[in-house]
Symmetry: C3
Subunit: 287 residues, 3 copies
């Protein structure tokens, strides 16, 4: 409770959620007095308390994902939604504060263009540029990779690693109606983007699940990439965690619909006796 | 027609829709010459006329919801969409003009965070703060409530009042895959938010139906909360009215898909012989 | 490759996509050194290269739609999404650069209000006004049409031309639950908007397919307007092209879900032996 004396929020309960949340919010924001508390003091102090208690005290405090993983997922989701620039700025800064590298962050932003389009990715980069420039000593030199040859072969390999069967079905289903769209997905989506070295496939799939859940308009693709997350070393616990986290950024309906997709994917894998990611073995049964 | 002489819009028809709409737009905007008319004069005067005729002359002029209810629904929807700050500002001001209290408005904004996430709610609050500050004499002291104990019990009671059966099913379905998400929905969504005193359950459900319709990504939740609106005293007429109003803010597809949900919910209740809200009895058969 | 010397992008591959894309981007932007390349140079030069290669080198370079048609579709989609103002500004300017008239552009923006709501349309107009004002010599006098009489009859005629059967079914399905919404769709949506002279029905349907695909929340309406596009002279190739283009602005999931809708509509028409638009006959079989 002594923490709340320093802030302009309403009195917290006795369950320790506010204190726990404030500690995490301080890590993410990098300051002792996060601005969101002060800015809400005169109009909605209860919302300030709720913002500390639920997103940070409940969700971010959970095991299952690191703060760095959570920040990358949030950055991807807010970039894809494209309608929350102040929060995207905060969490881009927060990603740096919890140990994400500028290169990882830029790579997540580039990754969003396949799922939310180029405008979303470009506007995310604009905010990131401002955040990076505000840090005088930030050491960042952008990766420059050639587009290179063999985009189709490279993309096919990435797609195969992510989700051989479901991915193949999507591509096959386009053959009679939009074969070039299928080729673009392989060459551009998987060959140009997924195959880039700065982010591993598991992290790409984690942020893809975050984006598809938050957007709420990509149900079939969410299912494909839940398989993809589990096929590239991710766990069911991680899937449930990142979907749950989206309740904070896109609301409970988005998270609930994401869980519905996860339930179907998990059941399908159980029925097929499929093996999930290696990480599965250390995850507890609580997800 | 003499009204249109004073404005920069195109000539209106003879059906009185423009005059009726302008009168309502004046009430909502609080000014005799609403700025939207002048601002469109040089580029799209027909759109100015259409903006008066359809949203105000057709929709807002309808019985079934008060102007205050309509403004709260619009504020909720625009906050949830998160991509129309100028219009949110206009309708926050409009809500005050038609008699909504600052406390009600803030409560609607806090309510949005469960359905559209914290960024949406926080950005809505930012605009509201500016609107409130621009009114020199506005008497507003924010409600400060403690988070208190018994969040789960309080949330369960609110959920039960809103929709015993459907809500229970959602919670039960999460038990094997994301039990903590179920707990958050009860403790945070219903215990922290719905149970707050500044807005009654019926109004909460009305604005929830508005938000879920406008977002277009929350089909299952729209159905749950249509039941909720009818279970907390709302009427079928109110449900159809608020869905119809969303055609103005999110387009006809959103409204049409909302009506499809309503049709299913009404049919299910007819089949079950369920009793709708008390208000149902005075509503005419025109909805 | 000599083009890339003049820009700040990463080295392009040997497949000519960069050079081809840059040429088209120059046409759309109206400048030799498009700003997007420079602005990304210090943070994500690879994204600059990808922005030239995929949207312009792959998608815009395709036959099947003119650059003017593509720009109108993009303007409609970005206006409807409402979360990408910088790109909307660029493509409004781009639409003028590739030969769209100001009147056509304004008409597309007015058209969006039926599908994405008035806030989207009004915010699009605000950006267009700034773009038009920045062009000193732009010759534009807005069309002013009276609302006129017989809105219902005029709307019914437009609806009938677009999609007699499917449209009738939608209207009929509203009769028992929201008959006034049905009337508004006919009077306002089709009578006030579609019947305006500045844009032909085929172009209206093309940009409607673009919007519904990009929004991702209007599945039933996307199907109705795919029929509408084919009923008003559009081709299956055009439908597939405009859906594919939405991968650029709303991501691959949006485009894939759009193709799923197109596949269903095409199959239904094949089963019914229905005749598509006149243009169908000259389109190749590659779509």
């Amino acid at each position: 409770m002594n923490d709340s004396r320093n802030t302009a929020t309403a009195p917290a309960g006795h369950d320790g959620r506010f204190e726990r949340g404030l500690e995490i919010l301080r890590q993410v924001s990098g300051v002792q007095q996060p601005a969101v508390l002060e800015s809400l003091a005169t109009i909605a102090p209860d919302l300030a308390r709720l913002t500390v208690e639920f997103p940070y005290g409940d969700v971010y405090a959970r095991p299952g994902l690191t703060l760095a993983q959570r920040q990358l997922a949030t950055v991807a989701a807010l970039t894809a939604l494209g309608n929350a620039a102040p929060q995207l700025r905060f969490h881009l800064d927060g990603a740096l504060n919890v140990g994400c590298t500028p290169a990882e962050i830029v790579e997540v932003l580039i990754h969003t263009c396949g799922y939310a389009g180029f405008p979303a990715a470009l506007n995310g980069i604009t905010v990131a540029r401002e955040v990076f420039q505000a840090r005088a000593g930030l050491d960042f030199r952008p990766t420059v990779t050639p587009s290179g040859e063999d985009r189709f072969a490279r993309g096919s390999a990435a797609l195969s690693a992510i989700d051989g069967r479901a991915g193949e079905l999507v591509i096959a289903s386009l053959r009679d109606i939009a074969p070039d769209l299928a080729r673009y997905i392989i060459e551009f989506g998987f060959g140009d983007i997924y195959a880039r070295p700065a982010l591993d496939l598991r992290t790409r799939e984690l942020v893809t699940v975050a984006m598809c859940t938050a957007l709420g308009t990509a149900g079939p693709q969410l299912r494909v990439h839940l398989h993809g997350l589990l096929n590239t070393g991710g766990t069911r616990e991680e899937a449930v965690e990142v979907i749950t986290q989206m309740a904070v950024y896109a609301g409970f309906p988005a998270a609930l619909n994401g869980i519905t997709a996860a339930r179907e994917v998990f059941a399908a894998r159980d029925a097929d006796g499929e093996r999930d990611g290696d990480g599965e073995r250390d995850s507890g049964g609580d997800a």
